[in-house]
Protein backbone atom coordinates (compact mmCIF):
# COMPACT_ATOMS: atom_id res chain seq x y z
CA UNK A 1 0.00 0.00 0.00
CA UNK A 2 1.12 3.48 -0.88
CA UNK A 3 1.69 5.87 2.04
CA UNK A 4 -0.39 8.99 1.48
CA UNK A 5 0.85 12.46 2.32
CA UNK A 6 -1.06 14.08 5.21
CA UNK A 7 -1.80 17.73 4.43
CA UNK A 8 -2.84 19.99 7.31
CA UNK A 9 -4.56 23.39 7.32
CA UNK A 10 -2.71 26.45 8.58
CA UNK A 11 -4.34 29.81 9.27
CA UNK A 12 -1.96 31.13 11.95
CA UNK A 13 1.62 30.53 13.09
CA UNK A 14 0.19 28.63 16.06
CA UNK A 15 -1.55 26.19 13.74
CA UNK A 16 1.61 25.89 11.60
CA UNK A 17 3.59 24.65 14.60
CA UNK A 18 0.62 22.57 15.77
CA UNK A 19 0.55 20.78 12.40
CA UNK A 20 4.28 20.08 12.56
CA UNK A 21 4.04 18.83 16.15
CA UNK A 22 1.14 16.54 15.24
CA UNK A 23 3.04 14.89 12.38
CA UNK A 24 1.79 16.52 9.18
CA UNK A 25 3.75 15.71 6.01
CA UNK A 26 2.73 19.02 4.47
CA UNK A 27 0.75 22.16 5.25
CA UNK A 28 -1.25 24.63 3.17
CA UNK A 29 -1.93 28.28 3.86
CA UNK A 30 -3.13 31.46 2.15
CA UNK A 31 -1.95 35.07 2.20
CA UNK A 32 -3.55 38.45 1.58
CA UNK A 33 -6.98 38.51 -0.05
CA UNK A 34 -6.52 35.93 -2.78
CA UNK A 35 -7.45 32.76 -0.91
CA UNK A 36 -10.70 31.12 0.08
CA UNK A 37 -10.37 32.02 3.77
CA UNK A 38 -9.57 35.70 3.28
CA UNK A 39 -12.17 36.98 5.70
CA UNK A 40 -11.58 34.48 8.46
CA UNK A 41 -7.77 34.29 8.42
CA UNK A 42 -6.47 37.76 7.67
CA UNK A 43 -3.34 37.49 9.77
CA UNK A 44 -0.89 35.83 7.37
CA UNK A 45 0.60 38.24 4.85
CA UNK A 46 2.94 38.07 1.88
CA UNK A 47 5.84 38.98 4.20
CA UNK A 48 5.20 35.77 6.19
CA UNK A 49 5.87 33.48 3.20
CA UNK A 50 9.61 33.48 3.92
CA UNK A 51 9.19 32.46 7.57
CA UNK A 52 6.62 29.77 6.80
CA UNK A 53 8.85 28.31 4.07
CA UNK A 54 11.85 28.34 6.40
CA UNK A 55 10.00 26.67 9.29
CA UNK A 56 8.65 23.96 6.98
CA UNK A 57 12.06 23.33 5.40
CA UNK A 58 13.65 23.08 8.86
CA UNK A 59 11.12 20.42 9.82
CA UNK A 60 11.30 18.58 6.50
CA UNK A 61 7.69 19.11 5.52
CA UNK A 62 6.20 20.62 2.40
CA UNK A 63 4.37 23.95 2.22
CA UNK A 64 1.72 24.82 -0.33
CA UNK A 65 0.13 28.21 -0.85
CA UNK A 66 -3.52 28.57 -1.82
CA UNK A 67 -4.22 31.15 -4.50
CA UNK A 68 -7.64 29.85 -5.33
CA UNK A 69 -10.23 32.63 -5.41
CA UNK A 70 -11.95 33.95 -8.48
CA UNK A 71 -9.41 36.39 -9.93
CA UNK A 72 -10.08 39.80 -11.45
CA UNK A 73 -7.81 41.94 -13.63
CA UNK A 74 -6.84 44.13 -10.67
CA UNK A 75 -5.55 41.03 -8.81
CA UNK A 76 -2.89 40.14 -11.36
CA UNK A 77 0.04 42.12 -9.95
CA UNK A 78 -0.54 40.90 -6.42
CA UNK A 79 -0.98 37.31 -7.61
CA UNK A 80 2.23 37.56 -9.59
CA UNK A 81 4.08 39.03 -6.59
CA UNK A 82 2.80 36.19 -4.36
CA UNK A 83 3.95 33.52 -6.83
CA UNK A 84 7.38 35.17 -7.15
CA UNK A 85 7.69 35.23 -3.35
CA UNK A 86 6.76 31.54 -3.26
CA UNK A 87 9.39 30.74 -5.88
CA UNK A 88 12.06 32.82 -4.11
CA UNK A 89 11.53 31.20 -0.73
CA UNK A 90 11.02 27.63 -1.89
CA UNK A 91 7.30 27.11 -1.26
CA UNK A 92 6.64 23.67 -2.77
CA UNK A 93 3.55 24.49 -4.84
CA UNK A 94 0.70 26.89 -5.44
CA UNK A 95 -2.89 25.59 -5.28
CA UNK A 96 -5.08 27.36 -7.84
CA UNK A 97 -8.14 27.09 -10.04
CA UNK A 98 -7.86 30.21 -12.21
CA UNK A 99 -6.23 29.95 -15.63
CA UNK A 100 -4.31 33.20 -15.08
CA UNK A 101 -2.59 31.60 -12.10
CA UNK A 102 -1.84 28.47 -14.14
CA UNK A 103 -0.14 30.69 -16.73
CA UNK A 104 1.84 32.60 -14.08
CA UNK A 105 3.01 29.36 -12.46
CA UNK A 106 4.25 28.17 -15.83
CA UNK A 107 6.00 31.50 -16.45
CA UNK A 108 7.80 31.45 -13.08
CA UNK A 109 8.43 27.69 -13.04
CA UNK A 110 6.31 27.35 -9.92
CA UNK A 111 4.85 23.88 -9.26
CA UNK A 112 1.05 23.91 -9.46
CA UNK A 113 -1.72 21.93 -7.75
CA UNK A 114 -5.20 22.10 -9.24
CA UNK A 115 -7.60 23.26 -6.52
CA UNK A 116 -10.84 21.52 -5.61
CA UNK A 117 -12.43 24.75 -6.88
CA UNK A 118 -11.75 23.40 -10.37
CA UNK A 119 -14.22 20.56 -9.58
CA UNK A 120 -12.17 17.82 -11.23
CA UNK A 121 -14.53 14.83 -11.23
CA UNK A 122 -13.28 12.46 -13.95
CA UNK A 123 -10.12 11.00 -15.44
CA UNK A 124 -10.36 13.04 -18.66
CA UNK A 125 -10.19 16.25 -16.63
CA UNK A 126 -7.21 14.82 -14.75
CA UNK A 127 -5.63 14.04 -18.11
CA UNK A 128 -6.31 17.61 -19.28
CA UNK A 129 -4.70 19.22 -16.23
CA UNK A 130 -1.81 16.74 -15.83
CA UNK A 131 0.65 18.43 -18.24
CA UNK A 132 0.57 21.64 -16.20
CA UNK A 133 0.32 20.35 -12.61
CA UNK A 134 1.76 17.87 -10.11
CA UNK A 135 -1.28 17.28 -7.91
CA UNK A 136 -5.00 17.44 -8.61
CA UNK A 137 -7.45 17.94 -5.76
CA UNK A 138 -10.65 16.15 -6.67
CA UNK A 139 -14.14 17.54 -6.19
CA UNK A 140 -15.54 16.53 -2.82
CA UNK A 141 -18.69 14.97 -4.25
CA UNK A 142 -17.14 11.80 -5.70
CA UNK A 143 -17.69 8.33 -4.27
CA UNK A 144 -14.73 6.26 -3.16
CA UNK A 145 -15.27 3.97 -6.20
CA UNK A 146 -15.10 6.93 -8.56
CA UNK A 147 -11.92 8.11 -6.83
CA UNK A 148 -10.40 4.61 -7.03
CA UNK A 149 -11.22 4.46 -10.75
CA UNK A 150 -9.43 7.76 -11.32
CA UNK A 151 -6.31 6.69 -9.40
CA UNK A 152 -6.15 3.33 -11.19
CA UNK A 153 -6.57 5.04 -14.57
CA UNK A 154 -3.71 7.42 -13.70
CA UNK A 155 -1.53 4.32 -13.26
CA UNK A 156 -2.85 2.48 -16.31
CA UNK A 157 -2.50 5.48 -18.62
CA UNK A 158 0.80 6.43 -16.99
CA UNK A 159 -0.43 10.01 -16.68
CA UNK A 160 2.47 12.17 -15.72
CA UNK A 161 2.47 15.64 -14.25
CA UNK A 162 4.71 18.52 -15.26
CA UNK A 163 7.54 17.26 -13.02
CA UNK A 164 7.67 13.96 -14.94
CA UNK A 165 6.29 11.89 -12.03
CA UNK A 166 2.85 10.31 -12.08
CA UNK A 167 0.19 12.95 -11.44
CA UNK A 168 -0.90 12.79 -7.80
CA UNK A 169 -4.51 12.69 -6.67
CA UNK A 170 -5.56 14.55 -3.54
CA UNK A 171 -8.83 14.28 -1.62
CA UNK A 172 -10.34 15.89 1.44
CA UNK A 173 -10.54 13.46 4.36
CA UNK A 174 -11.86 15.67 7.15
CA UNK A 175 -13.59 18.98 7.81
CA UNK A 176 -16.40 21.21 6.68
CA UNK A 177 -18.49 20.48 3.63
CA UNK A 178 -20.93 22.95 2.17
CA UNK A 179 -24.16 22.79 0.25
CA UNK A 180 -22.53 23.92 -2.99
CA UNK A 181 -20.48 21.79 -5.36
CA UNK A 182 -16.94 22.11 -3.99
CA UNK A 183 -17.35 25.69 -2.91
CA UNK A 184 -18.93 27.15 -6.02
CA UNK A 185 -21.62 28.95 -4.04
CA UNK A 186 -23.52 32.16 -4.69
CA UNK A 187 -25.65 32.27 -1.54
CA UNK A 188 -23.39 34.48 0.57
CA UNK A 189 -22.94 36.89 -2.33
CA UNK A 190 -26.65 36.88 -3.11
CA UNK A 191 -27.76 37.77 0.41
CA UNK A 192 -24.82 39.66 1.91
CA UNK A 193 -22.80 40.73 -1.12
CA UNK A 194 -19.92 38.75 0.35
CA UNK A 195 -18.57 36.37 -2.26
CA UNK A 196 -17.62 32.92 -1.05
CA UNK A 197 -15.50 32.69 -4.16
CA UNK A 198 -13.45 35.67 -2.96
CA UNK A 199 -12.97 34.07 0.46
CA UNK A 200 -15.64 36.16 2.18
CA UNK A 201 -18.37 33.57 2.82
CA UNK A 202 -20.66 34.66 5.68
CA UNK A 203 -21.91 31.08 6.12
CA UNK A 204 -25.58 31.98 5.92
CA UNK A 205 -26.25 28.38 4.87
CA UNK A 206 -25.34 27.36 8.42
CA UNK A 207 -28.49 28.95 9.84
CA UNK A 208 -31.94 27.43 10.38
CA UNK A 209 -34.56 28.30 7.78
CA UNK A 210 -38.35 28.03 7.64
CA UNK A 211 -40.40 27.15 4.61
CA UNK A 212 -43.56 29.29 4.45
CA UNK A 213 -46.70 28.15 2.67
CA UNK A 214 -47.74 31.36 0.94
CA UNK A 215 -51.40 30.29 0.69
CA UNK A 216 -51.96 29.53 4.35
CA UNK A 217 -49.04 31.38 5.91
CA UNK A 218 -48.06 28.14 7.72
CA UNK A 219 -44.39 28.00 8.54
CA UNK A 220 -42.57 24.69 8.45
CA UNK A 221 -39.30 23.92 10.10
CA UNK A 222 -38.01 20.80 8.39
CA UNK A 223 -37.30 18.04 10.92
CA UNK A 224 -35.59 20.52 13.21
CA UNK A 225 -32.56 20.37 10.92
CA UNK A 226 -30.33 22.97 9.31
CA UNK A 227 -31.23 21.93 5.83
CA UNK A 228 -28.43 23.72 4.04
CA UNK A 229 -25.70 22.93 6.53
CA UNK A 230 -24.15 19.50 6.05
CA UNK A 231 -22.36 17.76 8.85
CA UNK A 232 -18.57 17.66 8.63
CA UNK A 233 -16.69 15.10 6.58
CA UNK A 234 -14.88 12.44 8.62
CA UNK A 235 -13.22 9.41 7.02
CA UNK A 236 -11.23 8.07 9.95
CA UNK A 237 -13.54 5.06 10.28
CA UNK A 238 -12.82 3.97 6.69
CA UNK A 239 -9.25 5.17 6.42
CA UNK A 240 -8.22 1.70 5.18
CA UNK A 241 -10.55 2.03 2.18
CA UNK A 242 -9.32 5.57 1.50
CA UNK A 243 -5.73 4.32 1.35
CA UNK A 244 -6.73 1.32 -0.78
CA UNK A 245 -8.39 3.76 -3.20
CA UNK A 246 -4.90 4.92 -4.11
CA UNK A 247 -5.25 8.57 -3.05
CA UNK A 248 -1.83 10.23 -2.82
CA UNK A 249 -2.64 13.19 -0.57
CA UNK A 250 -5.11 13.34 2.33
CA UNK A 251 -6.21 16.87 3.01
CA UNK A 252 -7.77 18.19 6.21
CA UNK A 253 -10.02 21.26 5.86
CA UNK A 254 -9.92 24.04 8.45
CA UNK A 255 -7.59 26.98 7.81
CA UNK A 256 -9.93 29.25 9.73
CA UNK A 257 -10.12 26.93 12.71
CA UNK A 258 -8.02 26.95 15.87
CA UNK A 259 -4.54 25.54 16.41
CA UNK A 260 -5.90 22.80 18.66
CA UNK A 261 -8.24 21.76 15.83
CA UNK A 262 -5.23 21.45 13.51
CA UNK A 263 -3.29 19.59 16.18
CA UNK A 264 -6.01 17.08 17.10
CA UNK A 265 -7.22 16.36 13.55
CA UNK A 266 -3.66 16.02 12.19
CA UNK A 267 -2.60 13.79 15.07
CA UNK A 268 -5.62 11.48 14.71
CA UNK A 269 -5.21 11.10 10.94
CA UNK A 270 -1.43 10.66 11.34
CA UNK A 271 -2.06 7.79 13.75
CA UNK A 272 -4.81 6.34 11.56
CA UNK A 273 -2.70 6.34 8.38
CA UNK A 274 0.24 4.80 10.24
CA UNK A 275 -2.05 2.20 11.83
CA UNK A 276 -3.47 1.11 8.46
CA UNK A 277 0.05 0.76 7.07
CA UNK A 278 1.42 -1.21 10.03
CA UNK A 279 -1.69 -3.41 10.30
CA UNK A 280 -2.82 -2.16 13.71
CA UNK A 281 -5.91 -0.26 12.48
CA UNK A 282 -8.82 -1.57 14.58
CA UNK A 283 -12.29 -0.61 15.95
CA UNK A 284 -10.93 0.35 19.39
CA UNK A 285 -8.55 2.85 17.86
CA UNK A 286 -11.30 4.23 15.62
CA UNK A 287 -13.54 4.78 18.66
CA UNK A 288 -10.70 6.62 20.40
CA UNK A 289 -9.91 8.83 17.36
CA UNK A 290 -13.60 9.68 16.91
CA UNK A 291 -13.87 10.72 20.55
CA UNK A 292 -10.77 12.93 20.13
CA UNK A 293 -12.10 14.48 16.91
CA UNK A 294 -15.43 15.22 18.61
CA UNK A 295 -13.62 17.34 21.18
CA UNK A 296 -12.61 20.01 18.65
CA UNK A 297 -14.72 22.11 16.29
CA UNK A 298 -17.24 20.00 14.42
CA UNK A 299 -20.85 20.06 13.24
CA UNK A 300 -21.29 16.33 13.76
CA UNK A 301 -19.73 13.83 11.38
CA UNK A 302 -20.66 11.82 8.33
CA UNK A 303 -18.62 10.08 5.68
CA UNK A 304 -19.34 12.69 3.00
CA UNK A 305 -20.14 11.43 -0.49
CA UNK A 306 -17.39 8.79 -0.48
CA UNK A 307 -19.69 5.96 0.55
CA UNK A 308 -22.18 6.63 -2.21
CA UNK A 309 -24.64 8.87 -0.37
CA UNK A 310 -26.06 11.41 -2.74
CA UNK A 311 -27.74 13.67 -0.22
CA UNK A 312 -26.01 15.43 2.62
CA UNK A 313 -26.63 14.61 6.24
CA UNK A 314 -27.70 17.88 7.77
CA UNK A 315 -26.40 19.42 10.93
CA UNK A 316 -28.79 19.83 13.86
CA UNK A 317 -26.96 22.77 15.37
CA UNK A 318 -25.96 26.25 14.24
CA UNK A 319 -22.28 25.89 15.05
CA UNK A 320 -19.82 23.48 16.56
CA UNK A 321 -20.88 20.53 18.69
CA UNK A 322 -17.37 20.01 20.05
CA UNK A 323 -17.49 18.15 23.35
CA UNK A 324 -14.66 20.14 24.90
CA UNK A 325 -13.74 23.80 25.21
CA UNK A 326 -10.64 25.50 26.50
CA UNK A 327 -10.44 27.81 29.51
CA UNK A 328 -7.39 30.03 29.92
CA UNK A 329 -5.46 29.52 33.14
CA UNK A 330 -1.76 30.32 32.89
CA UNK A 331 1.14 31.90 31.03
CA UNK A 332 4.58 30.35 30.53
CA UNK A 333 7.13 32.30 32.53
CA UNK A 334 10.25 30.16 32.02
CA UNK A 335 11.57 27.06 30.35
CA UNK A 336 14.66 25.25 31.67
CA UNK A 337 16.14 23.54 28.58
CA UNK A 338 18.78 21.49 30.39
CA UNK A 339 16.31 19.72 32.68
CA UNK A 340 13.41 20.16 30.21
CA UNK A 341 11.04 21.68 32.72
CA UNK A 342 8.43 24.38 32.04
CA UNK A 343 7.18 26.95 34.53
CA UNK A 344 3.75 28.53 34.20
CA UNK A 345 2.14 31.20 36.39
CA UNK A 346 -1.57 30.78 37.01
CA UNK A 347 -3.39 33.95 36.00
CA UNK A 348 -7.00 32.85 36.07
CA UNK A 349 -9.02 30.02 37.65
CA UNK A 350 -7.28 26.94 38.96
CA UNK A 351 -5.99 23.54 37.92
CA UNK A 352 -6.07 20.20 39.68
CA UNK A 353 -4.02 17.04 39.29
CA UNK A 354 -5.31 15.03 36.35
CA UNK A 355 -6.68 17.96 34.33
CA UNK A 356 -6.08 17.82 30.59
CA UNK A 357 -4.12 20.93 29.67
CA UNK A 358 -3.55 22.54 26.28
CA UNK A 359 -0.44 24.59 25.51
CA UNK A 360 -0.65 27.16 22.70
CA UNK A 361 2.03 29.49 21.39
CA UNK A 362 2.97 31.26 18.15
CA UNK A 363 6.21 29.31 17.77
CA UNK A 364 5.15 26.35 19.88
CA UNK A 365 1.95 25.38 18.14
CA UNK A 366 -0.40 23.24 20.19
CA UNK A 367 0.14 20.27 22.47
CA UNK A 368 -1.93 18.50 25.09
CA UNK A 369 -0.72 17.08 28.38
CA UNK A 370 -2.28 15.49 31.45
CA UNK A 371 -0.38 16.12 34.67
CA UNK A 372 -0.46 13.14 36.97
CA UNK A 373 1.20 15.17 39.68
CA UNK A 374 1.38 18.89 40.25
CA UNK A 375 4.38 20.83 41.53
CA UNK A 376 3.04 24.09 42.94
CA UNK A 377 5.51 26.78 44.00
CA UNK A 378 8.27 24.18 44.22
CA UNK A 379 6.48 21.51 46.24
CA UNK A 380 4.03 18.74 45.46
CA UNK A 381 0.36 19.72 45.54
CA UNK A 382 -2.99 18.78 44.10
CA UNK A 383 -4.34 22.21 43.24
CA UNK A 384 -2.85 25.44 41.86
CA UNK A 385 -4.63 28.78 42.05
CA UNK A 386 -4.14 32.30 40.70
CA UNK A 387 -0.66 33.60 41.43
CA UNK A 388 0.83 30.11 41.95
CA UNK A 389 3.70 28.88 39.81
CA UNK A 390 3.44 25.33 38.50
CA UNK A 391 6.32 23.38 37.00
CA UNK A 392 6.27 20.17 34.99
CA UNK A 393 8.60 18.27 32.69
CA UNK A 394 8.04 18.95 28.98
CA UNK A 395 10.23 17.42 26.29
CA UNK A 396 10.23 20.18 23.70
CA UNK A 397 11.07 23.83 24.18
CA UNK A 398 8.33 26.16 25.42
CA UNK A 399 8.59 29.91 25.29
CA UNK A 400 7.73 32.67 27.76
CA UNK A 401 4.28 33.94 26.82
CA UNK A 402 2.98 30.52 25.68
CA UNK A 403 -0.50 30.03 27.05
CA UNK A 404 -1.92 27.19 29.09
CA UNK A 405 -5.59 26.23 28.91
CA UNK A 406 -7.62 23.71 30.85
CA UNK A 407 -9.88 21.51 28.71
CA UNK A 408 -13.39 21.27 30.17
CA UNK A 409 -16.58 19.62 29.01
CA UNK A 410 -18.49 21.90 26.69
CA UNK A 411 -21.97 22.99 27.79
CA UNK A 412 -23.18 22.89 24.20
Amino acid sequence: MKKPELLAPVGTFESLHAAIRAGADAIYFGVEQLNMRTKSTPTITIEDIAEIAKVCQQHGIKAYLTLNTVMYDHDMQLASRIIRECKTHGIDAVIASDYAIFAMCREFGMPLHISTQANVSNIESVSFFAPMADVIVLARELTIKQVAHITSEVQRRNLKGISGDLIKIEAFVHGALCMAVSGKCYMSLHEKNASANRGACVQNCRRPYKVTDLETGNELVIDDEYIMSPKDLCTIDFMDQMIEAGIDVFKIEGRSKSAEYTYVTTKCYREAIDAVLDGSYNPEKITYWLSELEKVYNRGFWGGYFMGKKLGEWSKDPGSVATEKKVYIAKCTRYFPKIKVAEFTIESGQTNTGDTLLILGRNTGADKITLTELVVNGSKGSIAKRGDKITFPFESVLRPGDKLYKMVTSDA
Binding site: E32, Q33, L34, T38, K39, P42, Y72, H74, D75, M76, Q77, L78, A79, K192, N193, A194, S195, R198, G199, A200, V202
Partner: protein
Protein backbone atom coordinates in the same frame (compact mmCIF):
# COMPACT_ATOMS: atom_id res chain seq x y z
CA UNK B 1 -18.32 67.88 6.79
CA UNK B 2 -19.32 64.23 6.09
CA UNK B 3 -16.51 61.76 5.57
CA UNK B 4 -15.88 58.35 4.04
CA UNK B 5 -13.54 56.28 6.19
CA UNK B 6 -11.73 53.31 4.65
CA UNK B 7 -10.00 50.67 6.78
CA UNK B 8 -7.98 49.53 3.79
CA UNK B 9 -5.94 46.74 5.40
CA UNK B 10 -8.92 44.40 5.53
CA UNK B 11 -10.20 45.19 2.03
CA UNK B 12 -10.48 42.05 -0.13
CA UNK B 13 -10.65 43.90 -3.45
CA UNK B 14 -14.11 42.61 -4.33
CA UNK B 15 -14.75 45.58 -6.61
CA UNK B 16 -18.22 46.56 -5.30
CA UNK B 17 -17.26 50.09 -4.15
CA UNK B 18 -15.86 50.88 -7.58
CA UNK B 19 -19.00 49.50 -9.23
CA UNK B 20 -21.15 51.55 -6.89
CA UNK B 21 -19.26 54.90 -6.83
CA UNK B 22 -16.54 55.00 -9.49
CA UNK B 23 -16.07 58.71 -8.80
CA UNK B 24 -14.68 57.88 -5.34
CA UNK B 25 -13.07 54.48 -5.77
CA UNK B 26 -10.61 52.67 -7.96
CA UNK B 27 -8.91 49.28 -7.69
CA UNK B 28 -5.19 49.39 -7.13
CA UNK B 29 -3.28 47.37 -9.71
CA UNK B 30 -0.42 47.19 -7.25
CA UNK B 31 -2.03 45.32 -4.38
CA UNK B 32 -5.52 44.56 -5.68
CA UNK B 33 -7.29 46.50 -2.93
CA UNK B 34 -9.73 49.39 -3.31
CA UNK B 35 -8.33 52.91 -3.08
CA UNK B 36 -10.39 55.87 -1.93
CA UNK B 37 -9.34 58.53 -4.43
CA UNK B 38 -7.78 61.61 -2.86
CA UNK B 39 -8.13 60.33 0.73
CA UNK B 40 -5.70 61.27 3.48
CA UNK B 41 -3.96 58.55 5.47
CA UNK B 42 -4.32 58.73 9.24
CA UNK B 43 -3.10 55.79 11.36
CA UNK B 44 -3.73 53.08 8.73
CA UNK B 45 -7.13 54.60 7.92
CA UNK B 46 -8.00 56.58 4.78
CA UNK B 47 -10.35 59.53 5.22
CA UNK B 48 -12.05 61.64 2.57
CA UNK B 49 -14.41 64.56 3.10
CA UNK B 50 -17.48 64.39 0.87
CA UNK B 51 -20.37 66.76 0.13
CA UNK B 52 -23.70 66.21 1.85
CA UNK B 53 -25.34 65.24 -1.45
CA UNK B 54 -23.12 62.12 -1.70
CA UNK B 55 -23.83 60.79 1.80
CA UNK B 56 -26.75 58.53 0.92
CA UNK B 57 -24.95 56.90 -2.03
CA UNK B 58 -21.81 56.47 0.08
CA UNK B 59 -23.83 54.83 2.84
CA UNK B 60 -25.20 52.37 0.30
CA UNK B 61 -21.65 51.61 -0.84
CA UNK B 62 -20.61 51.08 2.79
CA UNK B 63 -23.54 48.77 3.31
CA UNK B 64 -22.56 46.72 0.27
CA UNK B 65 -18.95 46.26 1.37
CA UNK B 66 -18.67 42.55 2.33
CA UNK B 67 -15.93 43.13 4.87
CA UNK B 68 -17.49 46.30 6.31
CA UNK B 69 -14.29 48.29 5.96
CA UNK B 70 -16.08 51.38 4.63
CA UNK B 71 -17.80 53.75 7.06
CA UNK B 72 -19.57 57.05 6.49
CA UNK B 73 -19.48 59.62 9.24
CA UNK B 74 -21.85 62.60 9.09
Amino acid sequence: MPKIIHYRNKCIGCNICYESQPEYWRLSRKDGKATLIGAKLKKETYILEIPECDVEASKTTAEHCPTKVIKVSV
